[in-house]
């Protein structure tokens, strides 16, 4: 618990309405998009870079931890203030400072919601492609800190491909400006890129310069159903091999199809082993449509049971409806879900899905697999009820087995969610001790006192992950308010 003097100092910096230190408020700031929970000692909602700098200076002086976060939508436990300290919410810093059409860049504060920027630039004929599923609620600061992806990233690249410049508050409270409106810039180490995906461990991002593209105004969409995963995966490989780069190539497995059908009763084929959602965009409607027709033909050649090409926006929305409903549908099956986001080489997607199904059988847990088949980034979602005796242990077994299967196939732990607190114990298994050692060295240079985002990213419990890595995450037990 913070002393009254420190809280008074925070109130002087941001104003008393922006200091959240009452018991209920601390509970409200104790969570993110996962099931773990830990209240901060105080949450602050500053409005300017200068206020952030003052808060960090105070934290550095008092050796208090600081967790910068946006909307708190992390699926990796990255936005939970583990161990307390100061939760630095940047959600109020939500101004689009400038949209520069001549340079095709936008300058934004970190609390701008991704969809809000997209809507604003699209009015001007520009386009910000990264589209994480949480784009209606997650913030650009969080997107940059976690290097967010999304369905469109197959064609357009992930968040890192759009960050040209950053303003960051460093661990001593100083303010550093990096990069700018330049599209080309190879002067020195690429420090901008070091902050992208750093998950709040190196500093607090308070301003972002983002690259924009011309808005592709036309879209064409199709859905294809397969009776084996192999056929679906072969179709994906054949599409890429045919030289088509679609904007979206999404896959849902049989479990996911059935969960969505249970929820929406929209007439999805329950016995299909895989559904592919294919989309192409562009400036030319006929060209986009032609690509989709070619992809549909490839699917038919690879034994698709049926292929539907959307005739217009209404049919397109109907095709997307199933994919968009996945998250909510999964939330209704069991009280808890653990959404993973391993990535494997594209060619290993069918083998990865098969291994996940074997893991589901072995651990007797429903695991739905969907995701971005086009770039090998899959979301195995383990559905469970943590109140059931022994269920959490089985979830841990399943999750660890999924991680290890991905690594064995030449993949990685996370394609777009980040490591956060959920996966940190597996980091060394993925990267090896040398790379983790270098990362620790970098962390030491930027944040010698270790005030930024403790208990995230770096393993803390020895070389290999402990079997209780999920149960070891905090909950409200043992917490007393006030």
């Amino acid at each position: 618990m913070l002393s009254e003097a420190l809280r008074a100092e925070l109130r002087r910096i941001v104003g008393s309405a922006q200091v959240h230190d009452q018991p209920g408020q601390l509970v409200a700031y104790s969570l993110d998009g996962t099931f773990a929970q830990d209240p901060p000692d105080v949450a602050v909602t500053p409005a300017t870079t200068d206020e952030v700098a003052q808060i960090v200076r105070l934290a550095a002086r008092e050796k208090l931890s600081v967790l910068p976060r946006g909307a708190g939508t992390s699926l990796a436990g990255g936005a939970i203030p583990i161990g307390g300290g100061i939760l630095l919410s940047l959600a109020r810093m939500n101004r689009i400072i400038e949209i520069d059409t001549a340079n095709a860049v936008a300058i934004v504060q970190p609390g701008v919601v991704t969809a809000d920027l997209q809507a604003a630039v699209e009015k001007l004929g520009l386009f910000y492609p990264p589209d994480p599923a949480s784009l209606n609620q997650s913030t650009l600061g969080g997107n940059v800190a976690c290097n967010a992806g999304g369905p469109r990233c197959l064609k357009y690249g992930v968040t890192k491909d759009y960050v040209l410049g950053l303003t960051v508050v460093l661990a001593d409270g100083s303010v550093l400006k990096l990069g700018g409106k330049l599209v080309k810039n190879v002067t020195g180490y690429q420090l901008v890129q070091l902050f992208v995906g750093s998950e709040g461990t190196l500093g607090a991002i308070t301003e972002i310069v983002l690259r924009l593209r011309p808005l592709p105004r036309q879209r064409s969409t199709a859905a294809a159903y397969f009776d084996t995963l192999e056929h679906a995966s072969e179709a994906v490989a054949a599409i890429i091999a045919a030289g088509i780069l679609p904007v979206t190539l999404e896959m849902m497995d049989n479990t996911t199809i059935n969960v969505v059908e249970d929820y929406l009763q929209m007439g999805l084929p329950r016995d299909a082993e895989a559904m592919l959602l294919l989309e192409q965009d562009g400036g030319d409607e006929a060209a986009a449509r032609a690509d989709v027709e070619r992809m549909a033909e490839v699917c038919r050649c690879h034994d698709a049971v049926s292929v539907e090409v959307a005739a217009g926006p209404a049919q397109r929305d109907a095709l997307w409806k199933a994919r968009r409903a996945v998250s909510g549908a999964l939330g209704r099956v069991r009280p808890n879900k653990l959404g993973e986001d391993i990535a494997v080489p594209r060619s290993e997607v069918p083998e990865m899905v098969r291994r996940v199904r074997q893991i589901a059988r072995d651990t007797e847990l429903p695991i739905a697999v969907f995701g971005h088949a086009g770039d090998g980034n899959l979301h195995p979602n383990i559905l469970f009820d943590r109140r059931i005796e022994g269920e959490m242990q089985r979830v841990e077994l399943a999750a660890a087995a999924i991680f290890r299967a991905a690594l064995a196939l030449g993949g990685t732990l996370s394609g777009e969610h980040g490591i956060g607190s959920l996966k940190k114990e597996f980091l060394e298994e993925d990267l090896g001790p040398v790379a983790v050692g270098l990362m620790r060295g970098i962390k030491q240079v930027f944040d010698p006192q270790g005030i930024f985002s403790p208990h995230k990213v770096f393993p803390e419990r020895g070389g290999s992950a402990r079997a209780d890595f999920l149960r070891a995450l905090p909950s409200l037990d043992g917490w007393t308010p006030g």
Partner: protein, 469 residues
């Protein structure tokens, strides 16, 4: 570093303290309160914490504070239910500043239903911390007397008419009496009373020279049948034009929305039973209502009376008969409108229509069918205007912020008419427009009044009103 708490190794303990059937009651609360929490516990657990609700929550959108958003409110309620958090003053405040607009419910991918959770918490707060004598007296008068008896309600409204037409309003305003009692907002929100109320006694409406194709029970409402009695009549006419025989069923009363939303569930149940009894006279007719807030409350009678063995089933059957006037008219075969209305309007969607009842296309379709009328969409048409029952009296700062935002959205739409279909929204918009100096330039109208005008209004003579048989 701040002192680190030892992480739990027993996730099952997350439900520690929950009142299990036959188990120990919560350590912090009495058994009846624990039972209330228990009834909503699964609803709380449905939250997957994705935060999508933050994007539509009015109080979050004006504060960007987690405790002022649905996800934070659910987390606090759950912490109370699990025995981690007592009813601290801040918890109670942030829970009660929820507008119960259900915007979060409508967007929630996981199926959390905020309205019953929020109203349960208000009941809980009332049990835990009874109000002071002044508020208790006011509550007793408002909930158990004023809104409990329509005869009394009409007499009070009659007094209001006298007060507004005579010099009393001018005098009391001059003397600053309202300021003295802190009732300035409340006084501004009292609508102008028409010269004639609609007293439901079994009177009937039907189109002249036709045979009705169905029967409809008109739910007249309390504020609607007094302050907006002409809108009730226009509603009856429009329904009659759609081919129905419309009956203003006798002995109906207030729906109980204010009661439910202010922790007075028992008062609401008394009213609900009375309405169910009254409409039992027309057992096969749809019950049509023109106030969005009342409609969503009537549709919730099944939940309200779920533990009443005598009424639980009847309440479910009654709720299934309830239709908002927008959905009823949009789904009926209306003849072509007779009068061209060359006006531009914008639509303010009441929360309890758009979110609680999920009726969004019907009002748009009805307006677009009016010859000459052009509909321009305002920004954030379904963001709460801050009225929310008596929220604008209880939480004035937030209500004022939302009202100003709504008025700005109305202003930038450029339309000289705002159409809505809920009396609370109407009053809130009118007060907001007056304050912004737009009172003379932008009019607020109920959608039914606009539609009725397109059919020639009362003077068209195409609808016959019969007195009660």
């Amino acid at each position: 570093m701040s002192p680190s708490r030892s992480p739990s190794t027993q996730p099952e303990a997350a439900v520690r303290g929950r009142a299990k059937p036959g188990g120990a009651p919560l350590p912090l609360l009495d058994p009846a309160s624990a039972a209330l929490l228990h009834g909503q516990y699964d609803n709380m657990l449905s939250c997957i914490r994705c935060g999508l609700c933050l994007s539509v929550c009015p109080t979050y959108q004006i504060s960007f504070a987690e405790e002022e958003g649905p996800r934070g409110r659910i987390a606090m309620a759950r912490a109370v239910a699990e025995g981690h958090l007592p009813l601290t003053p801040d918890m109670v405040e942030h829970s009660q500043t929820c507008l119960l607009c259900d915007a979060c419910t409508a967007i929630c991918p996981a199926g959390v239903h905020m309205e019953p959770l929020g109203t349960m918490m208000r009941e809980l707060f009332l049990r835990d911390r009874p109000h002071g004598r002044r508020e208790r007296l006011l509550r007793w008068f408002v909930f158990r007397k004023l809104f409990a008896d329509m005869g009394r309600f009409r007499r009070v409204c009659g007094l209001g008419r006298f007060y507004q037409r005579g010099g009393a309003r001018w005098l009391l305003r001059r003397l600053g009496v309202f300021r003295l009692f802190g009732l300035t907002t409340l006084e501004q929100l009292v609508p102008a009373m028409p010269h004639r109320f609609l007293v439901p006694r079994g009177q009937r409406w039907q189109a002249a020279g036709g045979t009705p194709n169905r029967q409809i029970g008109l739910f007249a409402g309390c504020i609607m049948s007094t302050a907006y009695a002409e809108t009730d009549r226009a509603t009856a006419r429009m329904l009659a034009r759609s081919g129905a025989e419309v009956v203003a069923v006798a002995d109906q009363g207030c729906c109980g929305a204010l009661h439910v939303h202010n922790g007075e569930a028992e008062g609401a149940r008394i009213l609900a039973r009375r309405n169910i009894d009254a409409f039992a006279r027309l057992p096969d007719a749809a019950v049509v209502v023109n106030a969005a807030g009342c409609g969503s409350t009537l549709k919730g009678y099944g939940h309200l009376l779920r533990d009443d063995p005598a009424y639980a089933e009847r309440a479910v059957a009654f709720a299934a008969r309830v239709r908002d006037v927008n959905e009823e008219l949009a789904g009926a075969a209306l003849p072509e409108a007779t009068t061209r209305l060359d006006i531009t309007v914008t639509l303010q969607e009441p929360c309890h229509l758009a979110h609680a009842q999920r009726i969004r296309e019907a009002p748009r379709a009805l307006l677009k069918a009016v010859p000459g009328l052009s509909l321009v969409e305002m920004d954030e048409p379904a963001l709460c205007c801050g009225s929310a029952g008596i929220y604008n009296v209880l939480h004035r700062d937030r209500a004022d912020t939302l009202q100003a935002r709504k008025i700005e959205n109305v202003r930038t739409s450029g339309a000289p008419v705002v159409v809505t279909s809920n009396p609370g929204c109407q009053l809130q918009l009118e007060a907001g427009l007056a304050q912004a100096g737009l009172g003379g330039r932008v009019r607020v109208r109920h959608i039914v009044d606009v539609l009725d005008e397109a059919y020639g209004g009362a003077s068209a003579g195409d609808v016959i009103e019969e007195p009660a048989r």
